[in-house]
């Protein structure tokens, strides 16, 4: 049941007063290149918070600072109420980490790695059910270096969970996963959240942010450009779309619409009207303009904008 949809989790007592990660004005630069430029966000217990941004936006650096692997140049960072740069020893048993590049010892069998990490904790999860749940049993004895990317990723998640963490850091958790494995991973992440774990993940996959995250923090150039639930971020941004022959004179349609309207051919033969409400009045105007141009606007209707549309609007469409 819990897996089906982003059920709003019951807020834990003291939720607002006790965030798992509290970042304020983080700055970090490497040799003159600014990576974090005053980044602020909060990740709460019992919530999945996604740092969403293009490559090089500063997501991995942010998580690495939270994990104590790097230090911020300035700003305040509190992880489970402590400073990760100086209180690492007390924080490490309470957090679980999946790194983007794995970091599992390569010469060791899959289950041996999991047992090893379990043994570093005093009260770990039982290894058997965890391995079964994440589908590790079929390659339990295979050395890590012979595992596929998806198998390694699931093993890494098991290693991050086995110590019963309060806070789970997942850097690109779906990288290299096939659709079945991705659903299995999302399912376990939601279950951890529902048990009260705070999850902070980075992703550039819109679908992952949209379906898994309770809170999305859109990061670009080391700054937060938008934050809120996926519903908040996409609310009120519906567009009227239709399909028609390619090359329609969009400027003419724009002038037929109220001021503020923008008509774009988003892909050949696919048109979107934004900047005005996607209501019956706009639809009627579009429809009558099409009639005078002897065009049938197929599939004319309001399409809710996806997180991807919002994201591209915020971060631009140029490759970097």
């Amino acid at each position: 049941m819990a897996a089906a949809s982003p059920l709003p989790p019951a807020p834990a007592p003291g939720d607002a007063a006790d965030p798992a990660v509290e970042a304020h004005g983080l700055r970090k630069s490497y040799g003159g290149t600014t990576v974090l430029d005053g980044l602020s966000f909060t990740a709460r217990r019992g919530r999945v918070t996604a740092l969403l941004g293009p490559n090089g936006a500063g997501k991995t650096t942010t998580v690495a600072c939270c994990e104590g692997l790097r230090r911020v140049d300035s700003g305040t960072l509190r992880v489970l109420g402590r400073d990760p740069a100086t209180d690492g020893a007390s924080l490490r048993p309470r957090v679980g980490v999946v790194l983007q590049d794995g970091g599992l010892p390569t010469g060791v069998g899959a289950l041996e790695v999991l047992r090893h990490v379990a043994g570093l904790h005093s009260d770990p999860l039982p290894v058997g059910p965890l391995a079964e749940r994440l589908g590790l049993t079929s390659f339990a004895r295979t050395r890590v270096r012979r595992l596929s990317g998806g198998q390694r990723q699931r093993l890494a998640l098991a290693c991050a969970l086995v110590g019963r963490p309060e806070l789970l850091f997942l850097d690109e958790p779906s990288a290299g996963l096939d659709p079945q494995a991705r659903l299995a991973v999302w399912d376990v992440v939601r279950e951890a959240r529902d048990a009260g774990v705070a999850v902070l993940l980075t992703t550039h996959l819109m679908e992952e942010a949209e379906r898994l995250a309770d809170e999305v923090v859109v990061v670009d150039h080391g700054r937060v450009v938008a934050a809120g639930s996926p519903a908040d971020l996409t609310r009120g941004t519906a567009a009227l779309t239709f399909t028609a022959p390619t090359g329609l004179p969009t400027a003419s349609l724009t002038s037929a619409l109220p001021a503020g309207a923008v008509v774009t051919e988003t892909e050949p033969g696919r048109y979107a009207v934004t900047g005005v409400p996607a209501d019956p009045r706009t639809a009627a105007t579009v429809s009558s303009w099409c009639a005078t141009h002897d065009v049938l606007p197929q599939g004319l209707g309001a399409a809710r904008r996806t997180l991807e549309d919002v994201f591209l609007d915020l971060t631009g469409r140029t490759l970097r």
Binding site: M1, A2, A3, A4, E67, G68, L69, G88, A89, R92, P93, R94, V95, G96, V97, L99, D101, G102, G103, L104, P105, T106, G107, V108, E112, H116, V117, G119, L120, H121, S122, D123, L125, P129, L130, E132, R133, C159, L161, G163, R164, P165, E166, L167, V188, E191, A192, A195, G196, V197
Partner: protein
């Protein structure tokens, strides 16, 4: 009873907590670390098992030293210096064994662990950086222990008279030798690329074996006695042939250990 479970599970694609075949996990957060000693011993055990399973490393840490030992003890063509020949051969090969495990093996393992992100991941686990280093030291000690047992057994087969007092006198040299060469290995592995570490660690092993004063007394004693290899070889030879603790060479090893550890602490990069 197994049959009943299997019969119930087909068609359980619909998400239902009761009928789901997946095992439930108690993910309620309550993470606590195991005690430091247990974490360190676990890490040492893991690294020891990995090293003992690694064929290339076994070649370097056991097979080649055994060949050198047999050749040095059973032939007379090479001058090993003054003293009982099997004892001299064993002393030299124990020095080789320390360099193989503490320096070459540890440098290569650490270099690739660093490149593969293993050091970073373990640094976020309850092990931490201190536990990781302590675990590596424990693994080196365990592996050198295995080498001492195997090489002493082979030496006995080559006519060496078992000599507990000599081995006791050799203990400080073995410990300081491990410390100095492990620190040098970490300095190398933590500052250059994994591939360069691999090449350099093997090359240095060959150089020290040939002319570093490990097995053979050096042709240039003034130079090699200042090297950790020469100091280790001399200290082990004094211990096994004269039951003497050679203070001078031990101080040289100590100086190398302190200097390399300080340099590692300063320049070691975890990623």
């Amino acid at each position: 009873m197994n049959g009943a479970r299997v019969a119930a599970s087909p068609g359980s694609g619909a998400p239902s907590d009761a009928g789901a075949p997946r095992p439930a996990l108690d993910l309620a957060p309550r993470g606590t670390a195991a005690p430091f000693l247990r974490r360190t011993l676990r890490q040492a055990g893991l690294e020891t098992r990995v090293a003992l399973r690694n064929g290339e490393q076994l070649l370097l840490t056991l097979v080649l030293p055994v060949i050198v030992l047999v050749a040095a003890a059973r032939t007379t063509s090479v001058d090993l210096g003054e003293g009982d020949r099997p004892s001299l051969a064993l002393a030299g090969v124990l020095a080789v064994a320390v360099v193989s495990t503490a320096f070459t093996g540890q440098a290569i393992a650490t270099g690739f662990d660093r490149r593969n992100g293993v050091l970073r991941l373990l640094a976020t686990s309850p092990l931490g950086r201190t536990g990781l280093l302590a675990g590596k030291a424990g693994a080196v000690a365990a592996l050198v222990g295995v080498q001492v047992v195997v090489l002493c057994a082979v030496a006995v087969a080559c006519g060496w008279q078992p000599d507990p007092l000599g081995l006791l006198a050799a203990l400080p040299a073995l410990v300081l030798g491990c410390a100095a060469f492990t620190a040098l290995a970490l300095l190398l592995a933590g500052t250059v690329r994994a591939e360069a570490t691999l090449a350099a660690a093997n090359f240095v092993w060959v150089l020290l074996l040939a002319g570093g004063g490990l097995v053979l007394p050096s042709p240039v004693p003034a130079l090699t006695s200042a090297l950790p290899s020469g100091a280790l070889g001399t200290a082990l030879r004094s211990a096994l042939t004269e039951h003497a603790v050679a203070v001078g060479p031990l101080l040289v090893l100590l100086a190398w250990a302190v200097a390399a550890a300080a340099a590692s602490a300063r320049w070691f990069s975890w990623e």
